[in-house]
């Protein structure tokens, strides 16, 4: 158990408030017209939120790294899928 080993507990309320705050900011940013600003900001905020959930709510920051590797393996295995789809989809769409 993460906490049993460390004796520390994440500030769950603080993490939740951050996630809620980021969601509010994202919603406001989505109304910005300049795509060059909007898209990178939204992607970064979304990644930060996902990482916060992984590290603190799912305890990857405190648990065995084996769990992190298993999750990252899923992401790595997705990369060929992304590349294949990016090649195939425009070809299929052109028919």
């Amino acid at each position: 158990m993460a906490h049993a080993t460390t004796g520390r507990r994440p500030n769950y309320l603080g993490i939740f408030l951050l996630l809620a705050g980021f969601t509010l900011v994202e919603t406001m940013v989505s109304y910005v017209q300049q795509e060059a600003i909007k898209i990178p900001v939204l992607i970064v905020l979304s990644l930060v939120k996902a990482i916060l959930v992984l590290l603190y709510f799912m305890h990857l920051k405190f648990d065995s790294r084996i769990f992190t590797y298993l999750f990252v393996a899923g992401i790595v295995l997705s990369i060929p899928l992304i590349l294949i789809m990016m090649i195939v989809m425009p070809i299929v769409a052109s028919y």
Partner: protein
């Protein structure tokens, strides 16, 4: 946790947790393929904003996103409660999770009905990937609700304790993953 203990083999008592992480790794690939279908459909069709995005209600979905994030918070509160030996606290937090999950599903149903009324169909260019990806995510939320009922029923027969609560922790991992998927979907489908 010390630097060396981070690389320790997972204890046998946590085999199901290891299994849950293997499952979640597979779910990453599964959801990536679904998200890709949506993203690429959008990329190869120039009329995305006119035909689809204009139909979406971002404030409603932002509230729904907040509801799902809040449910994740109550899951960790429930886990924290049982880690401290507070069985009542765990039970109450899990009941709040059920209520928030049902609220999320109701919000999604409301959105789908609005989209149907606006003419979006399952077979339309953007309807197919949208209903597929949000529907499969919603199914995961629904399975999560059933899982909480199962946990609460199991808790009545054989209560979870401070020492033995891996079932709650495994459910938490699943639920937070479902939350992460929604965080990504919220950005890719609704905001960008």
């Amino acid at each position: 946790m010390s630097e060396s203990s981070k690389f320790m083999p997972v204890p046998q008592s946590q085999n199901t947790k290891l299994g849950m992480w293997v499952f979640l790794g597979g779910e990453v690939v599964f959801f990536t393929s679904l998200i890709l279908i949506f993203a690429l459909t959008r990329l190869v069709n120039s009329n995305y904003d006119a035909e689809f995005r204009s139909l979406l209600s971002i404030p409603v979905i932002a509230i729904n996103t907040f509801v799902l994030v809040a449910s994740s918070y109550f899951v960790v509160r429930g886990l924290e409660a049982i880690e401290l030996g507070n069985q009542e606290g765990m039970r109450n937090n899990l009941i709040v999770v059920i209520l928030l999950a049902v609220l999320f599903l109701a919000g999604q149903a409301f959105e789908w009905i609005s989209l149907f009324r606006d003419g979006l169909t399952f077979s339309s260019t953007f309807g197919m990937p949208f209903f597929t990806v949000t529907g499969i995510h919603g199914t995961h939320v629904f399975i999560g609700v059933l899982w909480v009922f199962y946990l609460l029923a199991g808790h009545r027969r054989r209560p979870y304790t401070k020492e033995s609560h891996l079932g709650i922790e495994n459910f938490g991992l699943y639920w937070h993953f479902v939350d992460i998927v929604w965080i990504v979907l919220f950005t890719l489908i609704y905001l960008i």
